[in-house]
Amino acid sequence: MSGAPIGAGAPSAAAAAPGTPSAGHATPAAAPRLAASTPDDAIRLVARALVVRYPGSDPAARPALSLDELAIAPGRSVALVGESGSGKTTALRALLGVLRPSGGGVEFGGVALDRLRGDALRAFRRAVQPIQQDTDGALDPRQSIGSAIAEGYRAGGGTRTGSPAVVLRLLGEVGLQASVARRHPHEVSGGQRQRAVVARALAVEPRLLLLDEPTSGLDATVQVRILELIERLRVERGLGLLLVSHNLGVVARLCTETVVLYRGEVVERGLTRGLLEAPRHPYTAALRRSMPEIGVPFRAPLMPSIDSARIDTAAGCRFASRCAFAIATTCGANQALAAVDGDPARLVRCGRAPDLGVLDPLA
């Protein structure tokens, strides 16, 4: 498939969509290519029984990350949320294949990442594009933005002659003026730089975007425009998204599914809306309460229960030391991830979930 000529791919929604600023630039050379025509099941990126331990850590201790299952495919949008040290970036790095897990593994199109070779490896690298928080580090400071995008295009199999048209189309698609192509990363604002990073990622016609805090550090009005951009690209190009974020507002905006991580373990997962409106794990409720909202009075963070101090979080529930609902009898033991409400997609790791019921996220 990667041997197919440039321009042989089916026209993508992006090039065909009316009203797309770039539509007028869509020359045959600029038309989306191979990855866009690959069947979606060949694009599935799946982590199974993933375990990550850092070198030198106690083998008896619980790992830095354990994740039973996580799948991303075109059209799916999944968020990984949790605070610093929860393992969300570690999970993303394992999915990108830049971090080798200690156990379990990641498959792309049914093949383990470490067994991908040749065309299959190239297809993986093209289909799966990371977008990082640190846009300064994502672009070469000595390279103009236009040549960075052109380089991405050629790396994905594009021709030198086709690249100027593609650069123009992609800049238009992310809402940047053509003149930005000549600028260097330090000559543009943070918001423009993040758009340029998105344009460069799009140059290889990816199907899955792995986004690590893509808008943190940006002004609120800039953030909302970047979110609109990602949302539009997801719909128009049928992209799959994996979003790592601690901002629940951003998560609610972009992702239909959410996985909440706490100290390397999934504590709750399910559809974003149900999870945020009717949290079942005390940590999800705490995250929800902590998020400042205009028009909602400030809420003090959760105070740990009296029992909390007596619970060994190395053996029992990891969140117990901060949990208002922790009781020694239940939470002293390790908890399993279990379905609640008869919904196999809604999983909660809390021994008290059955008697606590739905937690009021605003109380």
């Binding site: 002004d219 953030q223 601690h246 998020m291």
Partner: protein, 263 residues
Amino acid sequence: MSEDTPLLSIRDLAIEIRGRRLVDVADLTVARGEIVGLVGESGAGKSLLLSSIIGLLPADATVLGSITFDGIELRGAPDRLLRQVRGRRIAVVLQAARAALTPTLRAGAWIERALVLHRVPAAERRARVAHALDAVRLDPALMSRYPHQLSGGEAQRVAVALAVALRAELVLADEATSALDVTVQAEVAELFRDLRAREGTSFLIVSHDLALVAGLADRIDIIADGSIVERGGPSVLSDPHHQVTHDLVAANPTLERVREAAL
């Protein structure tokens, strides 16, 4: 000073750098025990305004107008006078709290040294530190750690603990919580409110996070292009008059808004 004189009072402040007027604020006040939020986007002039209060503007900046703290004129004040106010009566908490600590000093030694520099009598120091750690709910065991051994939230608490130990009357917080996890941010916000209640500390909180400031401040000033464009209680955000305020409110990806959109 009488009770109703503001603790901090800024009048007709203009800051110019290389002929460009970057800040132009007619008035801004913080009363004793008041939490005032200053919200604006990058480049609006927030940090410049904050730096002018403590006399730490770039050397090529020209400052006009008046900045009084407890009746003392700070603009153009000699360094000797500024040193008595800055750090001691006016504390500054920055985004990178860990960078504000000295990497080669344990947290306890860092606080101790600041108390010595500000001439707190040796007999008082121990009690003041103990009180401060209690006020910010920091485990005294953390005092033997170096900055790199502290979490972001802990380092932020150490910086605030120093302000409490020095009995600062005004805390200037410049994006003090924006690098923290939301849960830790909520804890630091709670700490600010708690200090105001227990110690009567005043706060000027500079942030781009409108929602955070709205939940924390008694009054909010919206700054754009160097000038205050809108001012009021948190309710000003439910009925914004200025376009900038309106845009800032609209840009907040709050859950309530997402829910409304989904319905």
